[in-house]
Structures are given as C-alpha cells and as structure tokens.
C-alpha cells in the first residue's frame, strides 16, 4: 500500500503538476520583481504576471513530468533509446501515470483523461441545467452561470479532442500494421501538453471566471474578468497538442503502412482520422493567432480588435471560425469513420461504396474550410460574403449524404444480429441522432431562417445533436467495441444495454426539447427566461434528460472499471472482424504484430466466399 502511494506521488503526473505551480509562482514573482525595481507595487492577481506565469507553467509541467528529457539530452548530443515496457521494478499500471512512448499506452491515457474531462464538463452542464429548470434565479449568480456555460463548452471540446486522440493513437498504428506511431516522443508530448492546458482552463474558473462563452468574441473578451486570459492561454496550449498529434498521425499513415495496403485498402476509420488530421494541422494555427492577439491586446496593449484604436472585431470572428467551424469535422469525422467501420462487421456485408465513403471524408474536410462565415450572418460582416457562404454550407450535405446512403445500403439485406450487442446499438443511436443534427443544419445555413434562429436555443439543440451523433455515440460504440481488445476482458452486456436505452431516449428529449424552446423564444447563453413563454415544462424535461444522460455515462464507467478485473476473458475475435488487430492476442503485445502482415484483398468483403484481407508475411531469408 505504502509502495503504491509512493509510485503515485513520484509519477510524472504529480511531478508535472508540482512543476507547473512552481513555474507559475516563479513567473509571477519575476514580473513582480521587475515592477519592484521600477518602484511599482504589484497587486494580487496582477494580469500580466498571471499570464506570464501561466505560459511558464506549461514549460514547468513538461519539464517536471519529464516529457522534454529526451529532447534536452539530444540538444547536448546524447541519443537516448526508446524505453519499452514498464520502468524497472515498477508495476505495469504505473506506465499510465508516467511518460510512456508506446502508442497503446498513450491511447489509453488519452481515453481515460477524455472520460474524466467529460465528467467535469458534464457536471458543469448539470449545474446550470438545474438553474434553468425554473424561471428566475435559484442558486447560481449570473456570473457563475456565465462561467459555467463557457467552461462547459471549452471543456467538452477538450474532452472530444482527447477522445479523438485516443481512437487515433490506439487504433491507427494497429490497423495499418505499424509497430508504433512515426514519432513516439512527439506522441507523448501531444498527450501530456493537454494536461497543463486543462489545468489553465480550470484555474481560469478559480480566479473569477469569464463571461464570453467558449467563442471569446472581442470586444467582450477585452473587458471580461481575469479568467478569460487563462481560458485563452489554455485553449492556445491545447493547439500544440492538436497540431503535433495530427502531424504524427498523417506521417504514420503515409510512411508506415503494411505491405500491400494501398490508400484504397486502408480501413475507413483511418481515412476519417486522416481527414480530421488535415484540418487540425492547418486550421488550429488561425485560432492560435486570434487567441494570441486577444491576449496581447489585453496584456501588452497592442490593438487589433477594439474599434476605439482602429481595430476590427469582425476580424476576430473570421480568424476564430476559420478554425472553429472545421474543427467540428475533426470531432465527427473519426466518429463517422467508426460507424462505417462497425456496420459491415455486424451486417456481415461489404461496406457499400467504400471508395465514395473514403473520399467523402476528404470532401467534408475540404468543403469544411469554405463555410466558416455561416456563423456570422448576423455579425455585420460584408454583405457580399453572405450568399457564397450559404451555398458552400449547403455543399456539406453532399459528402455527408454519401455517408448516410452508404450506411443505409450497408444495413440493407444485411445479416444484423436479432439481439444487437451494445456497440451496434450505439451505432444505430449515432445514425439516428446525427440525422436529427444533420437535417436541422440547413435551416441555420439558410440566411433568412438563420436571422430568426441565430443565438436561440434551436442552435443549441442542433449542435448537441451533431456532437452526440457524430462523436459521443460513435465514441461510446468504439469504447464498447474495442474494450475486449484493450483489456482482454468482456464488459457486462446487460449494463451496456441499460446505458444505451437510458441515454438514447433521454438525448432525444433533450435535443428536441432544446430546439422547441428555441423556436418558442428561448435565447442561448442567458441564465433566466420569461415564464410567460410557456416553456417551463420543457425546461424541466431537458434538465431531467440531462441528469439521465449523466447517470447513464456513470453506468458505463462502472461497467468498464468493474469488468477489468472480474469479467470473463474475451474471445480473441468476439465480433468476427476481418481487421488485422483482431487476429492477434488481447491485450495487444508491446510491439503489436509478432509477424508482420501484408494486405492481399479488400478490407470489408464480409460474406464473400474466399475473400481475405490480410495474411502473415512469410519470412524470406535475407541476404545480409
């Protein structure tokens, strides 16, 4: 027991957090010292000192955790070999608390962190949902409400990015037959830098919160409380994680595929993840610029957005949405990939239109870059931009439609199990919820209707449906589907089904309820509403639905935690998948494939006689 405590206290996580707060204090003290030299007093929570300390604190975390150690050694000319397996004399579980370079360990670190962050974000939602159940203010102040909904937004986005990282890191190298990612150290960096970023955002709540929502529009952001600086820096730091992770993913896919795996023989999830990575790699930079300029305007007195000095607040919105619209495709593309990946396995039929589905992911990613200003129809941007952005927004429906028709055609005459297992249920849930989210979108993309619905609760209902349908349901499907691969044990099917049948109806009530109060006049981002609108009952229903969704997620977590030790060992290939990762032992060995495989057929030819996807490479005696 004492030994375990010591392993936890000396883990990279704890050392990193200590390093973060030490560096923060040093940074704050440095600014205070500079001011003292010039004879100026430093008030408590002095903004430039907090911001400078926050930037140093991220370096402090990385140094403390040891993420940079190998690179620092390389600078002085020492090449360090990659460590494999658990550190000497420490138990296997300690790998998950320390800097580890194995892609599977990092994938699981991502997944666990993602679920923890999801719980925090969900808790915030439930706190302000309870407030909204009745008109008038019950137990939150307006400032607390503003901080909670703003933090809910950004923390859920952080959780989704971590979840995408989990799927990409664990699955992509396995599916393409690589032994690891192309840059294992960079991979560890991408994961670990997300932790101080989350700490900064949570600290932003602690020092007074902020009231701009997750978008942080100038010029409101220039007048918001201190918390906004930490929120923006945390958001900015998270961009490092996105950019490094996406470059790693793309390079791994480009250079480390198994023999014979041409682009059109890659698993469809890899296509989705690659399309998402292209967006992450590029668009993240522009929001980084927008956030940097906002912080510089507040802290350093530079002028970009404040019209008083000649600035342009619309510029912030353009730079912000150039990232923040495409990023929703980062959330949904891997999720839609999971749906396309799982359906053929359960339908025992080839995926309908494989090439079109693969290219539709790329299509969504590319069109996604051309639609950002549809968030700004009411913002006062140049009128000439409105119509082109309306048309480009409608264009997104085409590649998305390709995916929907492929799913329907794959299910058509498929041999679906009579008693669908949990992953398949979540796939069906995802399709139904994403459909609601999808068909409510064009109404917002059309200028005349958007002018009425902009900033109403309709839009809240719309994007919760797309996020749940495109990410949450497929992510849960993926967690259930690959759980036996990751742990070697089977989760409890009955609890999995309970989770699904609680969550799906509750989500429909929540999303459709949000849309209906939006149509009836409920505005988003306000803590109170007029009882005369007659929407109080719907608000009570939405709050109850949110609580049910919260409980159902807790059931899933209990199911996974309890099953790691007690559940029966899973079959090697419980879903009868053709994918290579199911042909090797569970949990996957340290280096994935003892014998490399080569691809000799199409990936989704389920139910076709004599079709094979992969076979082991017969070792040829080499000449050296």
């Amino acid at each position: 027991m004492f030994r375990n405590t010591r392993i936890i206290l000396t883990s990279a996580l704890v050392k990193g957090l200590v390093g973060q707060f030490v560096a923060w204090a040093l940074g704050y003290g440095f600014i205070a010292m500079l001011r003292a030299f010039r004879g100026l007093p430093t008030p408590g929570l002095y903004e430039p000192a907090v911001a400078f300390g926050a930037i140093l604190s991220v370096i402090g975390f990385l140094v403390g955790a040891g993420v940079l150690t190998d690179w620092l050694k390389l600078i002085v000319g020492k090449r360090t070999p990659l460590r494999h397996g658990a550190p000497e004399g420490k138990p296997e579980w300690s790998r998950y608390l320390n800097v580890d370079y194995n892609h599977k360990v990092i994938g699981i670190q991502y997944a666990i962190t993602s679920i923890l962050v999801l719980l925090i974000g969900g808790l915030f939602a439930i706190l302000f949902r309870i407030e909204l159940a009745q008109p008038g203010m019950q137990w939150l102040t307006n400032d607390q409400y503003n901080t909670l909904f703003s933090a809910h937004g950004i923390i859920m986005i952080a959780s989704i990015l971590l979840g995408v990282g989990a799927m990409v890191n664990y699955l992509v190298p396995l599916m393409i037959g690589a032994s690891d990612m192309a840059f294992p150290r960079l991979n560890a960096f991408s994961y670990w830098v997300a932790i101080p970023s989350a700490v900064l955002i949570l600290m932003g709540m602690a020092v007074g919160g902020w009231d701009t929502g997750w978008v942080g529009y100038a010029t409101l952001s220039l007048r918001a409380p201190l918390g906004i600086v930490l929120f923006m820096l945390g958001f900015w730091i998270n961009g490092f994680s996105s950019i490094a992770g996406s470059i790693n993913m793309l390079v791994t896919t480009a250079t480390m595929r198994a023999k014979g795996m041409t682009l059109f023989r890659m698993p469809i999830l890899v296509w989705g993840a690659a399309a998402a990575s292209i967006i992450q790699m590029t668009a993240t930079q522009t929001v980084g610029v927008a956030l940097t300029m906002s912080v510089a305007e507040r802290v350093l007195g530079l002028n970009f957005f404040d019209p008083a000095g000649g600035g342009n607040p619309i510029l912030y919105q353009h730079l912000f949405w150039f990232y923040s619209h495409p990023v929703v495709y980062v959330f949904v593309l891997p999720g839609l990939g999971v749906i396309s990946e799982l359906l053929p396995v359960f339908a025992r039929k080839p995926l309908f239109g494989y090439r079109w589905v693969a290219l539709s992911s790329m299509g969504i990613a590319l069109v996604g870059f051309l639609v950002w200003a549809h968030h700004m129809f009411t913002s006062g941007m140049a009128d000439a931009l409105r119509m082109p952005f309306m048309f480009s927004t409608m264009l997104v429906a085409i590649p998305t439609g390709v995916k929907f028709f492929s799913w329907v055609a794959t299910i058509w005459e498929g041999k679906l199990p009579k008693n669908p297992p949990t992953p398949l249920l979540f796939v069906f849930g995802a399709i139904s919820v994403f459909l609601i989210g999808g068909v409510t979108g064009p109404i917002l993309g059309t200028i005349p209707t958007d002018l009425h619905l902009h900033d109403s609760y309709w839009i809240v209902g719309h994007f919760h449906a797309t996020m749940f349908g495109g990410y949450i349901f497929p992510f849960f499907a993926a967690l259930y589907y690959w759980y036996p691969k990751v742990t070697g044990r089977m989760y409890k099917e009955s609890l999995g089904k309970l989770h699904f049948w609680l969550m799906l109806p509750a989500f429909w009530v929540m999303s459709i309820g949000q849309m209906s109060v939006g149509l009836l006049g409920m505005r988003r981002r306000v803590a109170d509403y007029d009882p005369a609108l007659g929407i109080t009952t719907t608000h009570v229903l939405i709050t109850l639905a949110a609580l049910i969704i919260g409980w159902s997620v807790l059931i899933m977590i209990y199911n996974f935690v309890a099953s790691t030790r007690t559940a029966p060992l899973a079959d090697i290939n419980p879903w009868r998948s053709r994918s290579p990762e199911w042909q090797i032992p569970s949990p996957v060995p340290e280096f994935n494939y003892a014998v490399p495989f080569e691809v000799i057929g199409e990936p989704y030819d389920y139910g076709l006689d004599g079709a094979t996807y992969t076979r082991e490479v017969v070792p040829v005696p080499s000449g050296d």
Binding site: G77, T282, A283, T286, A290, T292, L302, G309, G311, H318
Partner: protein
C-alpha cells in the same frame, strides 16, 4: 488494469526498430507538414495586415528594412553552404558557415528588436539615416500589426538561431556524418522557411500601400 501484454519486451525491441530510411522519410514529411501548418499561422497574420491596414502602412525606415532583409537573405546562402559542408564531410565549411548564418540571423534579430522596436528607447543618426524606429506597440492597429508580425517572425528567427548553435556545438564534436546529418538538414529547411516568410512580410510591412504615420 494491464492493457499491454508484458512478455519480455526488452528482448523484442531489436526486431521492431523502424529502419533508418523509413524514419528519415517520416522525419522529412513531418517537417514539411509542420511548415505547411505554420503557413496558416503566418497567413493569418498576413491577412490581418490587409484587413486592418488596407492600402496604407506606417512610415518605417526604408534603409533599415532593406538592410535587415538583405542580411537575412544572405544568411540563407551560408545555411546552404553549411548543409553542403555536412553532406560532404567538409567539417570546416560546415562549422564556419553555421556560425556565419547564426551571426547574420542575430544581426537581423537585433535590427528588428533594438533598432525597429527600439526597446531601449535610443536615438541616433548615421549618414543622415535615423537608426531607431518611432512606432510604439500602443500606436493603434499600426503598432499592433507591426509588432505582431515582426514579433512572431523574430520568435522563429530566434529559435532558428538556437537550432543552428545546437548543430554547431554538436557538429564540433563529430555528431554528424555525411550519411547521417538529419539535424543539419532539418535546421537548414527551417531556416530557409523562416527566410521565405520574411520575403512576404517585408513588402507587406515596408513597401505596399502609402505611408500614413
């Protein structure tokens, strides 16, 4: 929870090492993807300049701008010599050119920070040319955009100088061979990239539009 089977991983490691050629392909592709990613960072700043300044620009010292640009471009030549030296095993050319490139980068950095930004608040003239800039960060959007663009670029120059000094220091101790000198190659690509960015920033800041302030 044990999600990774643990059968003597240390013995397996040897057979699973990524071949050097594959790793090099990954490295090159990864670096170029990072460059492509940075294109959006500089592109966003570039766009900001046109949105906020339009057809105007602040009155800056043309002489200092031209001289700094010339020095930065010349440094790229020495960076190229440095890489060629490392590839040919010509230790002397490699080390000397690296130092020269770093020195010229430093001169460029000083010209931006000390002369254009005038962080020390100096004043002086040489041959009738004013040596120190007047634009302050707080001078509305002109100050904001100028400091943001030169600042972001100077940060990249500074990190490039650090990289050159690292390869120089390790190169002196024989870290690189003609066959394996990825560090030199990567630094050279990065340095050229930072130069090319300035090729676009310089006209946007110093030449385009009419001077108003």
């Amino acid at each position: 929870m044990s999600a990774v089977t643990t059968h003597s991983p240390h013995d397996d490691a040897h057979g699973h090492e990524v071949p050097y050629e594959t790793q090099m392909r990954s490295n090159r592709l990864g670096l170029w993807m990072f460059m492509f990613s940075e294109l959006f960072l500089f592109g966003a700043l570039f766009t900001t300049r046109f949105v906020l300044w339009g057809n105007t620009r602040p009155a800056l010292s043309q002489e200092i701008g031209l001289l700094a640009t010339g020095i930065l471009l010349l440094s790229s030549f020495f960076m190229y010599r440095c890489e060629v030296g490392a590839a040919n095993g010509d230790q002397k050319t490699f080390l000397r050119s690296a130092l020269l490139a770093a020195l010229m980068g430093t001169i460029f950095f000083i010209m931006v920070v000390v002369m254009e930004w005038n962080v020390f608040g100096l004043s002086g003239e040489l041959f009738g040319i004013e040596l120190f800039g007047h634009l302050k960060p707080s001078d509305g959007v002109y100050g904001g955009v100028f400091y943001a663009m030169t600042g972001m670029h100077a940060l990249h120059v500074l990190s490039g100088i650090a990289l050159i000094l690292i390869i120089w220091w390790n190169g002196r101790r024989g870290f690189f061979t003609p066959e394996r000198h990825w560090g030199v190659e990567a630094t050279a690509i990065y340095w050229h990239y930072v130069d090319v960015v300035w090729v676009f920033f310089y006209p946007a800041l110093y030449l385009m539009g009419h001077a108003v302030k």
